[in-house]
Symmetry: C2
Subunit: 333 residues, 2 copies
Amino acid sequence: MQRFINNPDEVVEDTVKGFVKAHPDLVRLSERNRRVIVSAFAPKTGKVGVVTGGGSGHEPAFIGYTGQNMLDAVAVGELFSSPTAKSFHDAMVEANGGAGVICLYGNYAGDNMNVKMATKLAAKDGIEVATVVANDDVCSAPLTEREKRRGVAGEIMMWKIGGAKAAEGASLEEVRVTAQRAIDNCRSIGVGLGPCTLPAVGHPNFQIEAGTMEVGIGHHGEPGIRVEPLKTAAEVARDMATIVLDDHALAEGTEVAVLVSGLGATPLNELYILNDTIEEEIARRGLKIHRTYVGNYFTSLEMVGATLTVMALDEELKSLLDKEARSPGLAQA
Amino acid sequence: MQRFINNPDEVVEDTVKGFVKAHPDLVRLSERNRRVIVSAFAPKTGKVGVVTGGGSGHEPAFIGYTGQNMLDAVAVGELFSSPTAKSFHDAMVEANGGAGVICLYGNYAGDNMNVKMATKLAAKDGIEVATVVANDDVCSAPLTEREKRRGVAGEIMMWKIGGAKAAEGASLEEVRVTAQRAIDNCRSIGVGLGPCTLPAVGHPNFQIEAGTMEVGIGHHGEPGIRVEPLKTAAEVARDMATIVLDDHALAEGTEVAVLVSGLGATPLNELYILNDTIEEEIARRGLKIHRTYVGNYFTSLEMVGATLTVMALDEELKSLLDKEARSPGLAQA
């Protein structure tokens, strides 16, 4: 493994330490729990606290979206593992400004279970917690079973929108409804060209043969809908856009936000190459692009590949998406 | 090659197309030259134009730092190749607001030659051009021959400072002096764990054996000062900090900015692991960290590895570094 690590069992500990050292103006480590990152601006009295949590190895997700007008606290799991119920609970406590806490997280078994337990613990503290579960990964289940779909990079949009809505002083129920609409309006797909290795395991958890690609792959190497010979970037981009947009079925003229994220080891210039055709395909369908993000926004260690997220916008979502925010993973002036 | 490309000879063309589509609020493609990116805010009458240029494959450098209060125009070279003199010249013309143009670029033979030619062409147009050449890579030549050193990620600091100074209405000579001080105050080092492949070549230009690392490697695989067994992240980080800080010899109490950049295929969490020890080492020497950047700021396709840049600050540099700026590669509210 050609990697910068110390003890393979302490990758998350070391990551978190280096992260809070890098961004003291935006985040701090919780004094209650070394697996909780708290915004330097939280808690804010009277504001709905915005929380998430997830496995590590997806940086800048999840911790990198902590900051101003974004997430207030994040529960940190081990690599590719859910945070504990205790960590979710501590994140809720840290984010609590007395107006309730919204937990915006992704649909994975461990996260579902631990968020549920944490919500009960928070209730005992007198903290009202509402939840929104992201289901934006179109290849993880058919549209008729959308509740089974996993949450992927659309979560960033949900956090941005939820964070902005909470910052505007909305109630817990208003934040919940808006964040739910944000993620309902998102569709994502991943394409994998190469696997990743958990340092403590030492070999890839799954294989992608040279010359092939896995369409619909999940963030932890969950199988996609097909393995096929690697195509040109334009063909891959068209396939990604087609799968996402066919599932979405948006009316002509709809405004959208586009997020093209690398999975870790794909050069940024290749993400731009994909974006060229993705935007062409979106425009061809008569959709209007309001804003595009291209970069390593939601990764999977050193996996080779990319994800596409398309989010349908309305006037409110657009204004919340554009609201000023500051976090290590996303800064918007 | 597990890569998202179309025609290997058109990687730069496709990258640039996808880039300008992604960021129409910040950049546009020059109508004079398809290898010149122009800020959406340029030219500005009476403001010094800020220009750079360099080979592609280092994204977000160089094009990604075009925007507001950053670069006004960027000449785009083929992968790992200097832009042509014509492209540098066209970038100067695009950035020209009548108050002169500063070209802030890295010390490579092709860039030196082509900037010189472009400067002469610009003079014929009546555009006064001043230049600052970055020499921040400490392992590329001894301190006594600093003028032979290459420019690497310190250039981002030079662009940020130069762009901010020009935005404040400074004269060409004032911008030149300040940008020169910015890069004089930078020291950088790279460590390579894995090579990269130019798509048109199809195999790596250089090798890094598994289990080893190359200390002092350049952005195109230029040999470093030693190849040695891969150490722990903490040991690597201490070595990087030691080499940079020993060369720098800063007085105790000096404030610094720290930039830890991935080379393309190193996961973000590992950059934070490096940062943990880097900041420890900087603090141990009695230096004060004003600001830290951790991310893929200056890459080399899918090279595995990282660079460290430390920049000594004074009050003016600090205020210019902190000035609001917007570009695809760096947004600061």
